[in-house]
C-alpha cells in the first residue's frame, strides 16, 4: 500500500475518535475521567465490578486510508469498532464521521448513517440463511427502501465485483466460508458507503482462503479507494493491509504508526515482543537501517529513495562496490552498505 497522502481530500479526516471509553458494569459512566479510570483492568474489576473494554482511545482516519486496529483477544478492538456506529453505546468520548458527531445523532439519523455511509463486515458473516446470495447482498438496499428492480440490478453488479458470479441464487449454507464472506463483503459494498468497517473478517477462514481474501481487499481498495477500518489479531495481516496500525492492549491504545514505524520503533516491550517474529527486511525501509555518511565514504555510488523496503534494496546494495546513497527527494540523508543490509536480513537484529 502507498503512504496515505495526507494533503489531499478537504483536510478533514473521514473518522475521528476522541477520548473514547466503553466501560461495562454497574454505574459505568462514573469511571471515565475519575481516578478509577487510571487503574489496571484487574484492579478496576476488583474495586468497582466494572470492566473497561475501551479506555481513552483517540485516533483519526484519513479519507481513503486503510486503518488497522490490532490486538489480541480481549484487547477491546471489537468493542471499539462497534462503538463507531453505536452498535455498542460508548460510555464517554466522541466519534465523528464525516464531520458529524455520532453520539448526537437521533435514532433515525443513526439509522441513516448506517444505511448510507458506514458498512460493516463481520467475523461470522451474519448472513440471513433464508435468503439467496443476491437477496443478502441487496438487503441493505432493501431496508433503505429501494425498488426491487433497482436493488437487484445493483446487487448483480456487486455479485460480479466480489467474484460471486454464478452463485446468485445459492443459499448461504451451500457456500464455503470464503464464499460466504464474499457475500458479507458484497452486502457491505452494495450501499456504496464511504467507510467500510471490518471486524476480523478473515479469522474464521483457512490460511489460503484468507490470503485470497486479503488480496481481494487490496484490489477493492485500489479500485474504489474507500476508507477502511480493519480489525485483526493477525500482525501479518495488519502489516500487509494497513496504511497505519493502531495496537491495543487491555483496552488502551499502545501505539499508532505505519507498519515500518511499528516494527522499527516499537513503543514498548509489549509491541516489541509482538513484532519480534516479523521478517524485518519485508517491512523496514532504508530510513531504519541507513547510517550517516562519514568522510571515508565514497559518495558516487547508486542512489535509492529513503522509503525503499530493505528487501527490495538488497540486490542493488550488495552488487554495488561502494556505499549506496539514500535520498529523501534530492537530499542525501544517509548511506547503506552490505553491513547494514545483512544485519537486517541475516541476523534479524533489532534496529532501534
Amino acid at each position: 500500500m502507498t503512504e496515505p497522502d495526507q494533503s489531499t481530500a478537504d483536510g478533514s479526516p473521514a473518522l475521528r475518535v476522541d477520548h473514547l471509553w466503553k466501560v461495562f458494569g454497574p454505574r459505568a459512566d462514573r469511571i471515565p475521567g475519575s481516578p478509577e479510570g487510571e487503574l489496571s483492568r484487574a484492579e478496576l474489576r476488583e474495586r468497582t465490578g466494572c470492566t473497561a473494554a475501551v479506555k481513552d482511545v483517540s485516533f483519526e482516519v484519513e479519507q481513503g486510508e486503510v486503518f488497522v486496529i490490532m490486538g489480541l483477544s480481549g484487547s477491546g478492538k471489537s468493542t471499539l469498532v462497534r462503538c463507531l456506529t453505536r452498535l455498542i453505546e460508548p460510555t464517554a468520548g466522541e466519534v465523528s464521521i464525516g464531520g458529524q458527531d455520532v453520539a448526537a445523532l437521533s435514532t433515525s439519523d443513526l439509522r441513516d448513517l448506517r444505511r448510507e455511509q458506514v458498512s460493516m463486515v463481520f467475523q461470522h458473516f451474519g448472513l440471513l440463511p433464508h435468503r439467496r446470495v443476491v437477496d443478502n447482498i441487496a438487503y441493505g438496499l432493501e431496508v433503505r427502501g429501494e425498488k426491487k428492480s433497482e436493488r437487484l440490478a445493483r446487487a448483480q453488479e456487486v455479485v460480479d465485483l466480489v467474484g460471486l458470479g454464478g452463485y446468485e441464487s445459492a443459499y448461504p449454507d451451500q457456500l464455503s466460508g470464503g464464499m460466504q464472506q464474499r457475500v458479507g463483503l458484497g452486502r457491505a459494498l452494495a450501499g456504496d458507503p464511504s467507510i467500510l468497517l471490518f471486524d476480523e473478517p478473515f479469522s474464521a477462514l483457512d490460511p489460503l482462503i484468507r490470503r485470497d481474501m486479503q488480496q481481494e481487499v487490496v484490489r477493492l481498495h485500489r479500485e474504489m479507494s474507500k476508507t477502511m477500518v480493519f480489525i485483526t489479531h493477525d500482525l501479518n495481516e495488519a502489516l500487509k493491509l494497513g496504511d497505519r496500525i493502531l495496537i491495543m492492549r487491555d483496552g488502551e491504545a499502545v501505539q499508532v504508526g505505519t507498519p515500518d514505524e511499528v516494527v522499527g520503533a516499537p513503543a514498548d516491550d509489549y509491541v516489541r515482543d509482538f513484532v519480534s517474529e516479523v521478517p524485518k527486511s519485508h517491512v523496514l525501509t532504508l530510513r531504519w537501517v541507513m547510517r550517516p555518511p562519514t568522510s571515508d565514504d565514497v559518495l558516487d555510488g547508486p542512489a535509492l529513495p529513503v522509503g525503499t523496503i530493505v528487501q527490495d534494496a538488497a540486490r542493488t546494495v550488495l552488487r554495488a562496490d561502494r556505499p549506496v546513497r539514500v535520498l529523501d527527494g534530492d537530499e542525501l540523508v544517509g548511506v547503506v552498505t552490505e553491513d547494514e543490509i545483512l544485519r537486517v536480513i541475516v541476523a534479524e537484529e533489532d534496529v532501534a
Partner: protein, 655 residues
C-alpha cells in the same frame, strides 16, 4: 478447592437437616396420629366454599345486570354460533337438513388435501385410514366435533399467542411480566381450569373453546419467544449495522429464522388443545370425550376403550402431521418439482371440490355408512378382556394393589393426612426451603396458607400422598429405564418411539386400561398417572445421562470403573440437574392425572372437583379443591425448580 469444599459441606449439611426433619416428622406423626387433622365431612363447607356457592348461584340466576358478564356472555354466544355453524357444515345436520352441508366423503377429501399440502402425500394416504377409523368405529360425528373445537381454539390461541410471543422475544420487560403468568398456567392441572371457566362462561361448546384456548396458550407463547431469542446475535447485529428498524429486524430476520421453532410451538399447542378438548367434555364440549367420560362413570370399559383408542389415533395423527409440516418448511425444491407439486395440488383441489359436490348429492356419501362396523368387535373384545382380567387377573393385580396400598400409600397418607395439620405444614415448608432454597420456602408458606384458607387441608394431604407415591414410582422408573436407554443404543431405538407416541396421547385415555386392571381403587389413578408421566421423565434422564461428555466416560472407563461405578459415580452425578428436571416434570404430570383419577373413584381433591360439576351445593368445594391442587402443584414445582437450579452446571434456569 475451597469453593468445592464449601459446596460439599453445604450439601451434606442439607442432607443432615432433611434427615432431621424427616425423623422429627415421623416420630411426632406417630405420637399425635389422628389429632387436629382438619378432616371434615363431605357436606361440611368452609366459609370460602359457601361464598363461592353464593357467587355461583348469583351468576347462574341473574347475569343481565353486570356489564362484565354481558361482555362474557356476548363472547360466549358468538363463539357458540361459530361452533354450531361449523358443526352444521361438517358434523351435525343443521336445522332443515337431514345431514351436514358437507358429507363424509367431502370432509375426508378436504382433510387429505390439507394434509397433503402441508405434510406430503404419504400422510395424506394415512389420513384416509384415520378418518376411516373415525367412521367405522361409529364415532364419526364426535371425532369431527373434536377436531372442530380443537382447531377453533388453536386458531384463537395462535392469533393471540404468536404476537405476544414475538413481543416477549424482543422485550425483556414483557418477559418479566408474562413469565410468571405462563408458569402458573402450565403448573395448573388441566382439569382445574374447568370450574372457574364455568363460573364465567357457563357450560357448552363455547366455554370449551375458551378453556382450550387458554390451556393451549402457554406453549406457543413460550416457544415463539424462545425462537426469537435464539436467533444468532451475529446475524441480528449485522442486520442492525445496515440500518434496519426494529420492525424490519423482527419481520425480516427474527421471524423467518425462528419459523421452525415457532412451528414446534404450534405442534405443542395443538397437542395441548386436543388433550383439553377431550377433558372439556365435563363442561359439555361436543366430541370424543363425551363417550369416554360417560363410559368411565358407568365403568363400561369396552365403550371407553373404543372411544379412547380413537382419541389416541387422532393424537398420534395430529402430532405426526404437524411435526412433518414443521420439518418441511423452508425446504428448497427444484423449480420443476415446485411446478409438479403445484399442478398436483390444483388437481387435488378440483378432486376435493368434486367430492364435496357429490357428498351433497348422495345420502351414502353424506352420512357415514353403518357398515363395516369395526366399533362393536373392538368394544366387545375390550370388554371381554376387562371381564377376564377382573375375574382371573386379580391373582396378579390384587397383590400388587395391596402391596402398594399398605406398603406405600397408607404410610404416606398417615404421615401427611392423619398427623396434626401444623406438623405436616411445618414439615412441608422446611422441606421446601431445604430442597428448593429460601424462595421456594416462602412459596411453600404461601401455598400452605392458601390450602388452609380454602378449608380443604385433609383432602389435599390425601391427594398429596397419592401424588407423591405416583411421582416416586415415576422417578424410579425414569432412573432405571433412562439409564438403560442411555447406555444401550438398541434399547433406545426400540423404546424411544413408544415414549414419543405415549407422550402425545391425552392423559385421561390412560384411565381406561388402568381401570380395567385395577378397578375403582386409589391405585388406578396412580397407575394412569405413572403411565402418563413416565415417558417425559425417562427421556429427560436418558438425555441427561447421554449428555455427559464422552471423554469423561472414557476417562472413567480407562481408570477401571465397573459399569455400576460408571453409572453411580459418573453418569448420574453429572446428570443431576436432568434428574431434578425429570422429577419436576414427572411430579407435575402426576398431579394432573391424579386429579382426573377422581373420576373413577379416587379420593381426595380429584373426587371433589368431579363432584363440583355434578352437584351445585358442592361447586364451592370443587373450586376450593381446584385451588388447593394448583397450590400443591406450584409448591412442588418451585421446590424442584430450585433443586434444578442448584444442580444445573451453569447455574441457569432450566425448563
Amino acid at each position: 478447592m475451597t469453593v468445592a469444599d464449601a459446596a460439599g459441606r453445604a450439601g451434606s449439611r442439607r442432607g443432615l437437616a432433611l434427615g432431621g426433619v424427616a425423623i422429627v416428622w415421623i416420630v411426632l406423626a406417630f405420637v399425635l396420629n389422628g389429632r387436629q387433622t382438619l378432616a371434615v365431612a363431605r357436606s361440611d363447607l368452609s366459609d370460602f366454599q359457601r361464598w363461592v356457592n353464593g357467587v355461583n348461584e348469583d351468576l347462574g340466576t341473574d347475569r343481565g345486570g353486570n356489564a362484565v358478564l354481558r361482555v362474557l356472555d356476548g363472547l360466549s354466544s358468538a363463539l357458540g354460533s361459530v361452533v354450531s355453524t361449523l358443526q352444521g357444515w361438517f358434523s351435525d345436520a343443521p336445522a332443515g337438513r337431514p345431514v351436514p352441508e358437507v358429507g363424509w366423503l367431502g370432509v375426508v377429501a378436504i382433510a387429505v388435501l390439507v394434509v397433503w399440502a402441508v405434510a406430503g402425500w404419504r400422510w395424506g394416504v394415512l389420513t384416509v385410514l384415520v378418518f376411516g377409523a373415525f367412521g367405522t368405529f361409529g364415532y364419526w360425528e364426535e371425532s369431527i366435533d373434536t377436531l372442530l373445537v380443537t382447531f377453533l381454539a388453536v386458531l384463537i390461541t395462535l392469533v393471540l399467542g404468536i404476537p405476544l410471543g414475538l413481543w416477549m422475544g424482543i422485550s425483556p420487560r414483557v418477559t418479566t411480566v408474562v413469565t410468571p403468568v405462563l408458569d402458573v398456567l402450565q403448573t395448573m392441572p388441566s382439569f382445574v381450569y374447568l370450574l372457574p371457566i364455568t363460573l364465567a362462561f357457563g357450560i357448552g361448546a363455547a366455554p370449551a373453546v375458551i378453556v382450550t384456548a387458554i390451556y393451549a396458550f402457554a406453549p406457543v407463547v413460550r416457544v415463539t419467544a424462545e425462537g426469537i431469542r435464539s436467533v444468532d446475535p451475529g446475524v441480528l447485529e449485522a442486520s442492525e449495522s445496515v440500518g434496519t428498524t426494529t420492525r424490519q429486524r423482527l419481520l425480516g430476520v427474527q421471524l423467518p429464522m425462528a419459523r421452525r421453532t415457532i412451528l414446534v410451538g404450534v405442534n405443542q399447542t395443538i397437542m395441548a388443545a386436543l388433550s383439553m378438548v377431550t377433558i372439556a367434555a365435563f363442561i359439555n364440549s361436543p366430541g370424543l370425550g363425551v363417550p369416554v367420560i360417560t363410559a368411565l362413570q358407568s365403568l363400561d370399559v369396552g365403550t371407553a376403550f373404543t372411544a379412547g383408542v380413537l382419541i389416541a389415533i387422532m393424537a398420534i395423527w395430529l402430532d405426526r402431521v404437524t411435526t412433518q409440516a414443521g420439518e418441511r418448511t423452508g425446504l428448497v425444491r427444484s423449480p420443476s418439482r415446485t411446478r409438479r407439486r403445484r399442478a398436483g395440488l390444483v388437481g387435488g383441489a378440483v378432486a376435493a371440490g368434486v367430492a364435496v359436490y357429490y357428498s351433497r348429492l348422495y345420502l351414502d356419501l353424506a352420512a357415514f355408512p353403518e357398515r363395516p362396523d369395526l366399533g362393536s368387535p373392538v368394544r366387545d373384545g375390550a370388554q371381554a378382556v376387562a371381564d377376564w382380567v377382573s375375574d382371573h387377573g386379580s391373582v396378579v393385580t390384587r397383590p400388587v394393589t395391596e402391596a402398594f396400598t399398605y406398603g406405600l400409600l397408607n404410610p404416606f397418607q398417615a404421615l401427611l393426612a392423619d398427623s396434626p395439620w401444623w406438623l405436616t405444614a411445618g414439615a412441608l415448608v422446611a422441606i421446601g426451603a431445604l430442597v428448593g432454597g429460601w424462595r421456594s420456602g416462602v412459596t411453600s408458606v404461601a401455598c400452605v396458607a392458601i390450602i388452609l384458607a380454602v378449608g380443604i387441608w385433609h383432602e389435599a394431604m390425601v391427594t398429596l400422598a397419592s401424588a407423591f407415591v405416583g411421582a416416586s414410582i415415576t422417578i424410579l422408573l425414569a432412573l432405571v429405564v433412562g439409564v438403560w436407554m442411555a447406555n444401550n443404543h438398541r434399547v433406545d431405538l426400540v423404546v424411544r418411539p413408544v415414549l414419543d407416541t405415549a407422550q402425545t396421547i391425552p392423559p385421561f385415555v390412560y384411565l381406561v386400561p388402568a381401570l380395567a386392571l385395577f378397578g375403582t381403587t386409589r391405585f388406578t389413578a396412580i397407575v394412569a398417572a405413572v403411565v402418563y408421566a413416565a415417558p417425559v421423565a425417562i427421556k429427560l434422564v436418558c438425555d441427561g445421562v447421554r449428555g455427559v461428555a464422552p471423554t469423561t466416560v472414557e476417562a472413567a472407563t480407562a481408570a477401571g470403573s465397573s459399569r455400576w461405578q460408571l453409572i453411580t459415580k459418573v453418569q448420574l452425578p453429572m446428570a443431576r440437574s436432568s434428574v431434578a428436571l425429570a422429577a419436576n416434570q414427572g411430579l407435575l404430570y402426576v398431579f394432573s392425572v391424579v386429579v382426573i383419577g377422581g373420576l373413577v373413584g379416587g379420593v381426595g381433591l380429584g373426587y371433589l372437583v368431579v363432584a363440583g360439576f355434578s352437584q351445585t351445593e358442592l361447586f364451592g368445594k370443587g373450586l376450593a379443591a381446584g385451588i388447593a391442587i394448583t397450590a400443591l402443584a406450584i409448591m412442588f414445582d418451585r421446590m424442584t425448580q430450585g433443586w434444578v437450579r442448584r444442580t444445573s452446571p451453569t447455574n441457569q434456569v432450566v425448563g
